[in-house]
Every structure is written in C-alpha cells, then in structure tokens.
Symmetry: C2
Subunit: 306 residues, 2 copies
C-alpha cells in the first residue's frame, strides 16, 4: 500500500497531509509560511516537512506514490514551473518540480490551488456526481476553477478560471490586474474591509463582519448582500456561457453565510437565462480548509503512473 | 465511397450541401424558409430537398453516411429534440431526429448552429490547429460556441456559449432573455439599426452601415467601434475565464470590417489579464455562409459509426 502527500501552499500557511490511496488523511502538518521570506527557505521548509512526516510515520520514499502541491499562482502544469505568486515575492519562472524532484527523489505534481480545490470539491465534495462544475474561491482575491465533462479545464496558458477578473461594468475602478471594473476590484477582501470600516467607524475583520451578519446585524448583512449581488452578476455571465450543473463557492469569505449566499442565488436566478438558471445549483464548498490538500493528493492519484 | 449531407436551417434560408468524406462540396441547394409558415411544411421541405439532391446526383440512401442539421435554437443533441427556435414560431419540444429518421430512413445528427459553425471553423477554418477556441456569431442575435481541448463543449443542458447574454453592466436595458444589461441588449442587430437610423435620419441597413464604415464614414465607424468596444468587454470576461488560443468572429455583422474588429481587439488587449491577452488571437471567421453546412457535415463525419 502506497501513500500520497498533498501540500497546500498559501501566503499564510503551508498545509501538508499524508493520505492513503482512498484519500483518507493519516497525518497532517501545518507551518506558517510568513516566516520564510526568501524563496530558498520556503523550498527548504517544503522539503523538511515532507521528510518530517515520512520519518514520524516510519515511511520510506518508495512508500510514497507521489507528492502533489497546490500553489497560489499560475502554474505551467505539465512542466511544473511557477510563473509567479501574486502574494509571495521572489517567485518568477521557478522550475519548482525539477528542484523538488532533485532534493526529494519522489514523483512531484503541481497545479494552481483554485484548480485543485475545484478538483477536490467535484470528486469528493459539494459537487460530487456533477460533470460540469465551476468553483469560486473567495479569499484575498477571487479565484475560480473549471471542471468540464468531469475533467479539469486549465486553459491554453494554464490561466483559466479567473472569474475575479470578469468585468461587471463598462467603466469602473481600475483593477490590480490592469483591467477595469473587474469583480475583484469591487469585492476583494480589502474592498469589503474598507467599506465595513467606513460604516462601523472602526477597523473590522471579515470574520467579525461574518459574525455580525449571522446575528442579523443590518449594515453587515447589507455589505454581504451587496457583495453577493455583484458576484451574482459575474456568475450570471459564467452560467450563461458554460451552462454548468453547479457552482461551488468556497474560501474564507464564503463563511459570511446566508446574506451572501441568498444574494448570489437570487441574482443568478433573476438574471441568468431560463434553461441555465433552472439547471444550475449554487452550493457551498464542503471540504473547507482541507480542499487544497485533498485536491493535491487527487492530482497525484489521477496523474501518477502506478 | 459514401457521401454526407449537411443542412444549415435558418430563419431566412435552408442551405443544403452534399459532401464527400473529405468534406468537399459536390452539390448544393438553397431554399427560402420564409414561405414555410407551418412546422410540417418546413419538415416536408427538408425531406424534399434531401430527396431532390439524392435524385439529381444518382445517389441511393445507402450511399449516404448520414444527414447533419444545424438548427437555430437550443437542441437536445443526443436525443435530437428541438427545445424551441427563438425566431421560427411553432417549434417546441419537437423530436425532429425521430421524425426525419422515420421519413428518410437515414442516420440523422443535429446540433445548434453556433456550435456547428464553431466546429467547422476549428476543424477547417480560421481556428484550424487551435485547441481552445471561442466562436462568436454576430447576427440577429449574438451566439457563441466553445471548443475546448479540441472537443465541442455543449453544457449540461446543451445551452452553453451564450456570450450574447453576458451582462456588461450592473444595471441597464432589459434583455429579451429576461436578463439585464446583456451585451445583446446593446448591440443586437435591431439596436445597431435604430442607433444608425437616429444618426443618419433615415432607415439604414447593416450592409449599408458596413459599406459606409469601409469608406471611412465617421458616424458609421463610430457606431461599429462602439459596438466593438461593448463586445470586447464581454469577450474580456470570456478570455479571462477560458484562456483560449483564439476567438473567431463570424456572422453577417462581422462584415462591418476594420472599425468593428480593431475596436474588439483593442478592448481585449487593454482590459484582459496579461497572460490571457498575450495568448489570444482575435480572428475573422473564414468559412463564411458555408460554415453551418460544413459543421453539420463534420458532425456526421465525427459521430457516425462506419
């Protein structure tokens, strides 16, 4: 029996899971990634955590089918090259697969984190049994992943799924990506927090804002419902274009609850075309914080040559 | 050697082509469909044209691999059922495949016309050799077809590709589809003609408006360039989402020429994300009015069991 290692690397944490081939988690490890300022120290930390987990589970390299990594940026999937990480400086065109293979002498697979979250939710989570699935991750930015006919669709330059950069107005705020009036330029984390700070007259975290909304605090509900309407407009375009079975919404911000969800659902229901609107289910992600790790393990399971 | 019949049924014409298996056109026939008010008389006209073309080419039914039909509305592709035709009344949930099979005793395949135009352009036209292709047809409405990883992507309810119904503003005109601020509600044929009538003080056809633009008439160029900008904004969303190799633009309105094309290209170049914008080619369709027929023949060639 071989094992799989799934790693979810984010701007805040590195999460590592040791999986059996049924994708049950046997061991896990979490590191803060904030302390690793330089690229090389982050790579060392990845290598170190893998070795550590092998050691404490009495496993040898030959017991591992492969290591999967979900990474926070665009990845050249077959070559295993990191194009760049928007939120971690120092990474540009890094042949990470080659580097890790040389240091670990195990099979390495990697992909963008939103893609792997989508894979996990479609294979084992909220979208289980649906063939055409669009996943949205609401975090610092707004990411997305596309599963069509049961397969991950990556795009010609491995840059598909960017729902955060669908324009929802002809003119509007300039976005970080260089575009205009992208949905992320209205409801990215920072935008929501600054709107909240104005209304409440003090700094307020997204968690607090979500808690307030759950207690039916009106201004908090209004903020989430406004964000949901904007996201619903972008999703209307996606739903009319892709006619998916379902849209899965995950990521930290998705915890905002009913005010956000009802608003997304209503907007899509009202604005999308009748056939598409009747067909699409808007679901909350099921695998939570583990989705990235599970997706990374799935990537190994589905790509490795046994 | 077997032959294939490809039929493109539109609100104006029925075009039928007799193809050899290399997709060369051996014979063709065009009928006006406007005279066939009732569903049954249109079905009779389809059957009659097939029989006519067989007869005048001395072919028997067994010489035909199959008949492909491109139809102007959403089609349940595997079952061969017409959901409805937006521009031909009297068609609702019609099992056209079954009806034609009973009357013609040949293999019948059918799909939406925008899907088949896309298939034709990707296999034999402007997008030859590209794997991920988005096709737009600019006609009475704005349609689209999606080819991903070389395969036609139809969507869960066979209703994918509806770029005409991507919203480009949070609020705006009510669209025929029930949505709000869909791109089609700004630059559908009728909208462009009514804008032109206002500016020129008389009724003006789209062909005249295209001719004027080719002669560098300023107001005509401004109308096409404005339409191109709006379409470019909707395409920015598509390009960021699907990261395609190319976008192919066809249909009658696409003849408006440079003013329209340059404006689409510039808008996508300025507004789409760097990786996606650098990768995508915006191309004019190559197969013109024959695209639908060719796509219908391709559908037979690729689906028939030899």
């Amino acid at each position: 029996m071989k094992y799989i290692i799934g790693i979810d690397l984010g701007g805040t944490n590195l999460k590592l899971g040791l999986f059996d081939q049924k994708l049950k988690i046997k061991d896990r490890k979490v590191l803060s990634t904030r302390v690793f300022k330089a690229k090389d120290s982050l790579i060392k930390a990845i290598v170190g955590s893998v070795e550590d987990v092998l050691c404490r589970n009495n496993l040898k390299k030959k017991d591992i089918l492969g290591i999967g990594l979900g990474l926070p940026g665009p990845i050249d999937f077959p070559r295993g090259v990191v194009h760049f990480f928007p939120n971690i400086p120092g990474w540009k065109n890094i042949p990470l697969k080659k580097i890790l293979k040389a240091r670990l002498a195990m099979e390495i697979f990697m992909d963008n984190d939103a893609n792997l979250m989508s894979l996990a939710e479609q294979r084992l989570g909220a979208a289980r049994n649906f063939r055409n699935v669009f996943c949205v991750t609401l975090g610092t930015g707004i990411g997305g992943g596309i599963i069509l006919e049961g397969r991950l669709y990556r795009g010609s330059g491995f840059a598909s799924g960017e729902i955060g950069h669908i324009p929802i107005n002809e003119s509007g705020p300039r976005c970080n990506c260089g575009g205009i009036a992208c949905i992320e330029s209205y409801i990215g984390n920072r935008r929501i927090m600054s709107a909240a700070a104005k209304i409440f007259g003090k700094k307020i975290t997204l968690e607090q804002l979500s808690q307030l909304a759950k207690k039916k605090n009106r201004p908090a509900c209004a903020i989430w419902s406004g964000a949901g309407k904007k996201l619903g407009i972008a999703l209307t375009g996606v739903v009319n274009l892709l006619n998916p079975d379902c849209v899965v919404i995950g990521g930290g911000v998705a915890n905002a609850g009913k005010a956000l969800f009802e608003s997304i659902k209503n907007t899509v229901k009202i604005r999308a075309m009748p056939v598409q609107a009747a067909q699409v289910k808007i679901l909350k992600a099921k695998l939570g914080d583990d989705a990235g790790m599970i997706g990374a393990a799935l990537l190994v399971k589905e790509s490795a040559h046994y």
